[in-house]
Symmetry: C2
Subunit: 502 residues, 2 copies
């Protein structure tokens, strides 16, 4: 028993080390790696993934886990070890369902598919990508068979990102959300303020942006000896270690506030990573997020609920004005607040505002389901995409580059991932509602740029659990109920009807 | 046969990938890693080293190598595979001589010793370090027994850094070098120019330094898509891949030209790494430097023979003047050239000038030999060090921090490493003499800031061989003779008697 316990802790430690190394290889590739290093980097990442996967599915580890998870043995373990054993058994059982040949085939296909997608998008040529996407859809279906969760086949895909979540639950949440988002959006488009609105033309030097971003993360209590903020094309967050969490932003994008909001967003992810359970659970499967959606709830919480609130800008707008006096001194706070929340129909998901964002997600979820169900074919996608865009957002992209080809997710075989963006957003609104209920004074703190109590609340009600519970269980414990899109809709109505004088 | 060949190539490829990953982990630790990441980083580096070492000494690999190196089989292989098999067999045979327990003991001891050394130096307290150094000296002796090369035990240490080099050869080279360096140094100290010389007080902004360093490496034809220049406390060069070579400098040191000369130095290492054999030998043991000394010859060549020459400054000094007009416009080229070559007795090796540098090395070599021979005890070191400093350089450090504790090498167990600095310097002078003989026009090219032919010559006569030959063989082929300190002494006399009007 002792030997098996030591063995599984040794392997978990190695898996955790491999995870950190893989994170560094990936981070470096996206931040500092010379361009010609890409081929060798891909070999490096493959080797680490392979070694890590081999350990996870090895017969030796399985033997020890089975020994420990035997009822009589399990009951003799300390509680924390019982938890680890059960969690690890579930992970390995799932991983062992997938034949190694399948893993290899998927990996080869997606790496070719990425290149094809990239070229297809570059040249607005969906046909360049479609044969690969067809193959990937086929592989996703096979994957669902291997995993074989009850209910809809797509549940097996969802489960990788949002454990326990089902198509049925999502359909319910989205069938409430979709018409209401469309309704709010329609009323906004009919409003006078919408007709009169125009985008600000802000000139914002990279150095000024950077200074404000660093000021922001300092106010968010980001520990500078355990984190880094760098620059990459697409912002992201990764953990090289428990004490080495890295996130990125980009000061060079067209939109002047892109860097500031993406820093807020990624800092939310980073603070979550820093708050995951250590002590008893360091270097175990528990010290991780239970779902992508819960991770996303943390970034959305900071980016939208905090960062696009009036209270936040009460504090930060004067600081922005000081940084850009010539451009902002004549603009009042109300105008600025309107500007950072302005709703605009857009083709591109990652540029969407807080209101329309989830419509982009629902569109993708519906398409993924239809592909897995065989209701539509890959060749139908450009047409279906544009029809749905028209239905949900009232705009039709002129090219597939701006439409069905905009996201890289499908080229990577990440079916089931998109919904987590909406789940995270809804969770964030629920957490926000709860924190305000419990601490009505929070508004005054945000007003003063004080985020310590917010962070403590998130640490206490979300971060500290890691994978001790599922995301659903954590949200239920924190908010008294699971995924509830009503809360999100009410939040949006409050905010946007006010903003647009409706 | 085919199977064994595939196997050894697969393992070499893995070793090469591990090497790149290890290099990235190390590079990142010294450049960007948040301070608190150190503990986990050390776990990451250990795991990669262990996996790599396990593969190198595995019975499986040894079995295949022995099969292939059998005379009858070997003769049937392609020539390039024969070369790889013989080289790899030699490496593995050596690695397998060291018991894994010893590797672990050395690794544990040096990691404690590093901490002790760091504190000892910080507090000028040799006794904090000496117990660890004693243990390390003992381990070095045991290492010599395991390896067991003929002749002096220290040969087995030397061989790790400078394959084939012996104590006998080094004693011969240094017994020529030492009195002559002392003589040149003495004559300089007696000169009028030495008595009158004073250091320049140059104010040199980091941004200006950086601009000049990037201009320099562009002139050196450093490919920006395969390399990076970053900042670290101590400059270094490492290869994350054949197409991803990274070097560093430091703009914040007291000496205003430190960054420029260390960039030149490290760029020399980087250009060598980029020139190592690919094609037939990519991801094999051949695609590496045959010795640390030969590597150092490349950095010294660029730093000293090129970068401290009159011709070099004919081109670069006007550029420096443009960058620092207020400080340099009134100074002529001759004064500047004197300044960048000025000789000064110094306690600190890494701050030493081109002339006295090798005296610092000879001192360390003599001490290492005496420790291994048991002629002196670790407790004698502070006294011995100071006596030798007085003898060779005529100065005695006031503290052990500035004396025997200045270098970290011994804390890492790197006995036999120091001599490579002198070997590299001597090799560099030999290569320089040869390149000028073969291309008298090189001076005119340096004069114009053109380094293409120099780089091609080094590629052709040094870089392209990798480990196809030993350093000694490469130098013999290029220069017509092996290590020859006379060439270096003549170079120094020419340069310094001229500089000091002797």
């Amino acid at each position: 028993m002792k030997e098996s316990l030591n063995y599984i802790h040794k392997i978990q430690k190695e898996l955790s080390i491999f995870g950190g190394i893989g994170a560094l290889l990936d981070w470096d590739q996206k931040t500092y790696m010379p361009t010609q290093g890409a081929t060798e980097r891909s070999d490096q990442i493959s080797l680490i993934s392979r070694l890590s996967h081999e350990r996870l599915i090895s017969d030796e580890l399985w033997k020890h886990i089975r020994m420990l998870s035997n009822h009589d043995v399990l009951n003799k373990l300390e509680e924390k070890d019982q938890i680890v054993v059960k969690r690890l058994e579930k992970d390995i059982e799932k991983a062992r369902k997938i034949p190694p040949e399948f893993v290899e085939e998927l990996s080869k296909t997606t790496s070719l598919a990425y290149v094809a997608w990239d070229e297809a998008r570059e040249n607005n040529n969906f046909n360049r990508f479609s044969p690969y996407l067809e193959k990937i859809v086929g592989l996703q279906k096979r994957y669902c068979e291997y995993i074989g969760l009850p209910g809809h086949p797509y549940n097996s895909l969802l489960d990788d990102y949002e454990e326990g979540m089902t198509v049925e639950q999502l359909k319910q949440a989205f069938s409430y959300l979709k018409p209401r988002l469309v309704e709010i959006f329609t009323r906004i488009k009919d409003s006078e303020l919408f007709r009169k609105q125009q985008n600000l033309k802000l000139k914002f030097d990279a150095d000024d942006q950077k200074e404000l971003c660093y000021f922001l993360i300092k106010k968010m209590l980001m520990p500078s000896d355990r984190t880094r903020l760098d620059v990459s094309t697409h912002p992201f967050t990764t953990s090289v270690g428990n004490d080495d969490v890295r996130f990125t932003t980009n000061y060079g994008r067209g939109q002047p506030l892109f860097a500031f909001f993406s820093t807020l967003h990624e800092a939310g992810h980073a603070l979550y990573e820093l708050g995951l359970p250590k002590d008893d659970y360091k270097d175990t499967v528990i010290s991780d997020a239970p779902s992508v959606g819960l991770h996303e709830s943390q970034s959305r919480f900071w980016e939208n609920m905090i960062g696009r609130s009036r209270y936040f800008w009460n504090y930060f707008y004067p600081i922005f004005q000081k940084s850009l006096p010539q451009q902002l001194n004549d603009m009042d706070l109300k105008t600025w607040y309107f500007y950072v929340n302005m709703v605009e129909p857009s083709f591109i998901r990652i540029e969407a505002d807080e209101l329309t964002y989830c419509l982009h997600i629902i569109l993708r979820f519906e398409i993924e389901l239809d592909l897995i169900d065989g209701n539509i074919k890959v060749s139908d996608l450009p047409r279906v995409w544009n029809e749905k865009m028209n239905e949900l957002l009232g705009v039709v992209p002129k090219t597939d580059t701006e439409g069905v080809l905009q996201d890289m997710h499908w080229s990577g075989g990440s079916f089931g991932y998109f919904p987590t963006y909406a789940i995270g957003t809804i969770y964030a609104s629920q957490l926000f509602k709860k924190i305000i209920e419990e601490n009505p004074n929070i508004y005054n703190e945000i007003d003063k740029g004080e985020f310590g109590n917010i962070l403590s609340w998130l640490r206490e009600h979300v971060h500290k659990y890691g994978r001790l519970m599922t995301a659903d269980e954590i949200i239920k414990k924190a908010c008294g109920e699971g995924l509830n899109s009503k809360v999100f809709v009410n939040y949006l109505k409050d905010k946007y009807y006010n903003l647009y004088d409706i």
